[in-house]
Symmetry: C2
DNA sequence: AACCTGATCTTTACGCTGTCAAGTTTGGCA
DNA sequence: TGCCAAACTTGACAGCGTAAAGATCAGGTT
């Protein structure tokens, strides 16, 4: 009688490669951080993973699918960056919100091409479902940080829109060099204090205690 | 001996185009608005202008140069859109600023790919000089609109950074569909009122008369 | 008049890209 | 065992940016 392997993973195991799908995503992230968004290529990802140029087609639906998958992972890292910037010991609600925003900018400075990718919807048409999941996942961090400073009786969406627009706009403009040269060491962040100062005004609306 | 053509037939068109450079830029803008940023191609621009695919090389330094030239024209149109949205009869300083911001969003809705192009620095590396000229040209409109609401003794850069980040961030997020589907008719602009509401708070800082 | 020179545009070619179609390998199962 | 479907390879194709070299033309020089 034939003995069947008892320990079998529930998922289909790739035959040649250990986990090609993950390897391709990681290769793509590396390519993005090394050569910018122009360097993200199906063929380069395949070569870096050690497979033929057409192998990615079996794991992603074309380049758009790969980009969507990378964006999904990018949102996960983005969320971690936001949380890492405000894990101080019991800061105030406002300090926590400012920390989240600081992490927002940090992530863009540390991963410029990946930040660009996750917020560019165009080249991932047809994958809105995957993207929306990643968006809401990361957006929840910002939403939770905004909640404590929302005035009573006001729609939380108002403050969320204001804060998100503010930090997202500053980050984009800073990364595009509109506030001067970008400093990859995060020492010089341009007039970021102006953003923090405006966030400070959100405190006054609720500090009635 | 292989016979060679002794008489040259006029199979070549006249080697002079009226204003090929301008025609290529206009063709590029049309391509952007019709097919999105992926449709902007040197060869398509050349074909639309009725010249061979390599003709643009003599007027622009590659694709990056064409993009920079298109961006420069885009900034001019962008400035006009901002000004057109606030040419009411003697509005207040704050209403004027809100009109500028409304025009900011209008331009992005009406010219999504062009708006994307003018604020994406990456694919135009080496042409910062051209771009900075266009940026400052359009930025001056926003700066002038911010000036009247700057509190006395404060650096105008603070308010400019806050307002620019706010409107730029909202426009980008709205265009990326983060506030729901984009409405090309400009009827539904998402939670844009939240941005306007925050701009209203800038009034209180100076209304001491 | 003939000549030349630089600018403009064409032609050809190369490598890289995404994508498709068809063939090959492999692991697991009846 | 023999088969099957998934994973991957191979080959081909059109479109892309770019470079080199040829063709044409306008205008000034001699």
């Amino acid at each position: 009688m034939i003995l069947k392997p008892m320990t079998k993973e529930p998922n289909h195991k790739p035959h040649h490669h250990g986990d090609l799908r993950t390897a391709l995503i990681q290769a793509g992230i590396s390519l993005l951080s090394e050569g910018g968004k122009e360097s993200l290529t199906l063929r380069k990802c395949a070569a870096r993973a050690g497979v033929s140029h057409a192998a990615p087609a079996h794991h992603f639906d074309g380049l758009a699918g790969l980009r969507a998958a990378i964006a999904k992972e990018g949102f996960r890292l983005f969320r971690l960056s936001m949380l890492a910037a405000c894990d101080d010991n019991n800061p105030s609600d406002l300090d926590r919100l400012k920390g989240i925003c600081s992490g927002y900018l940090n992530f863009a400075i540390e991963n410029p091409a990946l930040f660009d990718l996750i917020f560019s919807a165009a080249p991932m048409a047809g994958f809105e479902a995957d993207l929306e999941q990643g968006t809401t996942f990361a957006y929840k961090v910002l939403r939770d940080a905004c909640a404590p400073v929302v005035p009573e009786g006001q729609d939380p969406m108002v403050v969320e829109t204001q804060v998100w627009s503010l930090i997202h706009g500053y980050t984009n403009l800073y990364m595009a060099g509109r506030f001067g040269p970008v400093d990859p060491t995060q020492q010089a962040r341009g007039p970021f204090d102006a953003v923090m100062a405006l966030l400070d005004t959100f405190d006054a609306t609720t500090s009635k205690t």
